[in-house]
Amino acid sequence: MAESRGRPGSASQRPTGGDKAVATQKKQYFRRKKVCRFCVEKIDDINYKDVKLLNAFVAERGKIIPRRISGVCGPCQRRLSDAIKKARNIALLPFAAEV
């Protein structure tokens, strides 16, 4: 008789639509599973001298692209941003570029 329905927001009751269910209200936060390009391709060396590689992670105005957009993992993003700052210091990348 005493049916334990559980508290109204418990995970077992909530439909396991996951992100899609939340998405109807606010913006979706996981669009798709983006993988870190460096971890997948196993690129060890994020060098500040490699301007071609770094340019892919720099926006038009020269700003560093945030992690949630580029999909890079934490440690790689830190190394990447270090490399970009070194490259900026030695005039391989601009600090602020004109669009």
């Binding site: 196993k42 060890d44 060396d45 500040y48 001298k49 070194k86 900026r88 210091n89 030695i90 005039a91 391989l92 990348l93 601009p94 600090f95 570029a97």
Partner: protein, 136 residues
């Protein structure tokens, strides 16, 4: 003895001999301090990303060397004083090189272990298969 990497920019309008002279001077600073020059790489004239001292182009030179920290201080002082050098950057790379070596060795070990223990099966579904004992 630590491994360093020095990247500096020379004025673009300087003659070739003067540039070589500067590189020689820097190399001698390193060797007189008891270090060794591993590699000298001249990248040539390159367009700068922004204006440095009224120049839009510069001659990039890369020197990889091993030296003691005091030598590096002396080298940087010399670079600062030299008129021909408009920008320089010293990076310590022995730790990064060590880490890359380690990662590479780990990857190789993992790859060889995988290749030895799991021979690729030709057919996808095999009802009976004999599993070979894995030798660690």
């Amino acid at each position: 003895m630590r491994t360093y990497e020095e990247l500096f920019i020379l004025k673009p309008d300087a003659p070739e001999e003067e540039m070589d002279q500067v590189i020689e001077q820097m190399s001698s600073v390193i060797t007189s301090g008891g270090g060794t020059v591993d590699k000298v790489d001249k990248w040539g004239k390159r367009r700068l990303a922004y204006r440095v001292d009224k120049y839009r182009e510069g001659h990039y030179v890369l020197i990889v060397f091993q030296a003691a920290p005091e030598t590096v201080k002396e080298l940087e002082r010399r670079l600062r004083v030299t008129d021909l050098v408009i920008k320089f950057l010293t990076v310590r790379i022995d730790e990064t090189l060590k880490r890359q070596e380690k990662r590479r060795k780990q990857r190789e070990k993992r790859a060889s272990r995988k290749a030895a223990s799991m021979p690729p099966a030709p057919a996808p579904a095999q009802p009976m298969f004999t599993e070979e004992p894995v030798e660690g």
